[in-house]
């Protein structure tokens, strides 16, 4: 269990709703859910979610902390925004799903092998390095995220897609040698570091 997680369990005791409201992006909307289920019915990957959004909202109110934060469900959000567009109560459901996933990952409770968890973290690392996404490096990181052997297998399976992209000049092996970047990548990293510091200090201060 991470230190942050222990601290949070200690701090909020049995009030998981309060913990979510204080620490999860747009989490203060959770209590507005009226359990109609339109979000779950509108979700393109909904059938694969162990706990669809309205169920997660009820579980938060019921204090099912581990079940929610260990869940793979919100990692299957495709960011299609159907739930936001259709929610009769106007809950920013997409953002709450992103927020829950981020919070679970920060506490070290998110399922380690969840593929989108791995990919999304690689995406963030990739873009913050130079300020711009390097699609080739990101793609290779994705293929090899489950080890070398499986990476070769995936790369072979995806060979035709890659060749198609290279032939049409929509991908270039040259991107491996540096590639596109922001001139002031250093400045950007300073901005991000400061933003993270402010965010952590704020979570620290919140008493609910």
């Amino acid at each position: 269990m991470s230190n942050l997680n222990t601290a949070m369990v200690e701090k909020y005791r049995n009030d998981f709703l309060k913990e979510v409201e204080a620490n999860v992006e747009e989490g203060d909307w959770v209590k507005m859910c009226m359990q109609c289920g339109v979000c779950s019915g509108s979700c393109p990957l909904g059938p694969h979610w162990e706990h669809p959004p309205q169920e997660l909202f009820m579980m938060i109110r019921a204090g099912k902390r581990d079940e929610v934060l260990n869940s793979s469900s919100m990692w299957m959000c495709t960011s299609c925004y159907n739930c936001i567009a259709r929610c009769p109560r106007g809950l920013p459901i997409t953002h709450i799903m992103h927020g829950l996933a981020h919070y679970a990952d920060r506490l070290g409770l998110a399922p380690k092998e969840q593929p989108t968890r791995k990919f999304a973290n690689k995406f963030w690392d990739n873009l913050t390095k130079t300020g711009r996404v390097n699609e080739l490096k990101l793609g290779l990181a994705l293929y090899f995220m489950n080890g070398f052997g499986e990476g070769i297998k995936t790369a072979l399976k995806m060979k035709d897609v890659g060749l198609g992209m290279v032939k049409t000049k929509r991908m270039s092996p040259m991107e491996l040698l540096g590639g596109h970047k922001c001139k002031d990548a250093g400045g950007l990293q300073k901005i991000l570091k400061k933003a993270r510091e402010i965010e952590l200090a704020k979570a620290e201060k919140f008493e609910g």
């Binding site: 992006e25 990957l45 960011s79 299609c80 995406f123 963030w124 873009l127 300020g131 300073k190």
Partner: protein
């Protein structure tokens, strides 16, 4: 019409040798014809799209888009910010909404930006290129530039998600937006009526991490286009374009289908209809060749 200028946010996928570089080629051609000048935001950065949330909390992600807005305010004041990528547009617009809705967030964002000597106000309009076309030009004006109408072609307008929700195009519905069909019509082609999967999700970034689940969605999108008699699919989104185009072989193997459906951008159609060459329209960027458009462009 007088020249129109915009502060342009191209986004990562539009760069040279990136996945939507062909989109950028056709957009530039279309803009030249319409006398639009795109002033690129100097040193813009990635918006972290809708998959940056795992590593980035709310404030770091807002700071990414805020940096772009701050650079735009400096370099291109009094211009609207225009994005061609759905995710770039959405992330920037969301940032503006959050910053304007919460003074504390605005203040914290500016504290972060100050580390690089920047400051954001966030008062420039943030628009998708499609909005520029429809609102600043209009279908009639766009139609006046057509030199080679795309006659006899049937095209399924796949709007997808993020150009449509949560913001969408003013005056259009979330469930059945009509603008892409109207653009198709304006270029002289025939839109597929009642295209069943017009606003369905292609899986987005999860096409990479959850390929089987996403390809099931993509299969339905292509199938519905065939069912409507489409010769090709058109879309305003780089992720939709790539996802629906490049996995067709894999889908064919898995589902025993025979898909070979070209997927183009609205700007590809417009460049061809405006009489430009295949190269200027970015047709050489099609993994599945758009033969009918090549024929028209070659005439």
């Amino acid at each position: 019409m007088a020249k129109k200028e915009y502060s342009f946010y191209p986004g990562c996928s539009s760069q040279k040798a990136a996945s939507a570089s062909n989109y950028q080629v056709s957009v530039q051609t279309m803009c030249d014809e319409l006398d639009i000048q795109l002033n690129e935001i100097p040193d813009w950065n990635c918006c972290s799209a809708s998959i940056g949330y795992a590593g980035g909390g709310e404030l770091p992600r807002l700071a990414l888009s805020a940096r772009n807005m701050a650079l735009s305010e400096q370099a291109n004041p009094n211009q609207d910010i225009v994005a061609t990528c759905a995710a770039c547009w959405l992330a920037t617009k969301e940032t503006q909404e959050r910053l304007h809705g919460d003074d504390a967030l605005m203040d914290e964002t500016n504290q972060a930006l100050a580390e690089a000597g920047l400051k954001v106000k966030g008062d420039q309009n943030i628009r998708h290129m499609v909005e520029v076309l429809i609102e600043d030009f209009g279908y009639d004006e766009l139609g006046k530039h057509v030199k080679k109408p795309l006659e006899g072609m049937k095209i399924a307008g796949y709007v997808g998600c993020q150009t449509n929700r949560p913001f969408g195009i003013d005056g259009e519905s979330f469930e059945n937006p009509k603008y892409l069909d109207k653009l198709v019509e304006t270029m002289g082609a025939d839109p597929v009526a009642n295209y069943d999967k017009k606003v369905s999700c292609c899986g987005g970034a999860l096409a990479f991490s959850e390929p089987e689940k996403s390809q099931a969605l993509i299969k339905d999108i292509i199938e519905a286009a065939y069912d409507g008699g489409a010769d090709m699919i058109v879309t305003p989104c780089p992720v939709c374009q790539m996802n629906v185009e490049v996995y067709q072989n894999h889908i064919n193997q898995k589902y025993n289908t025979k898909f070979k459906m070209p997927v183009v951008y609205y700007s590809t159609l417009m460049a061809v209809a405006y009489g430009k060459s295949g190269k200027e329209a970015g047709l050489d960027g099609q993994v599945i060749r758009a033969k009918q458009l090549e024929d028209i462009a070659g005439k």
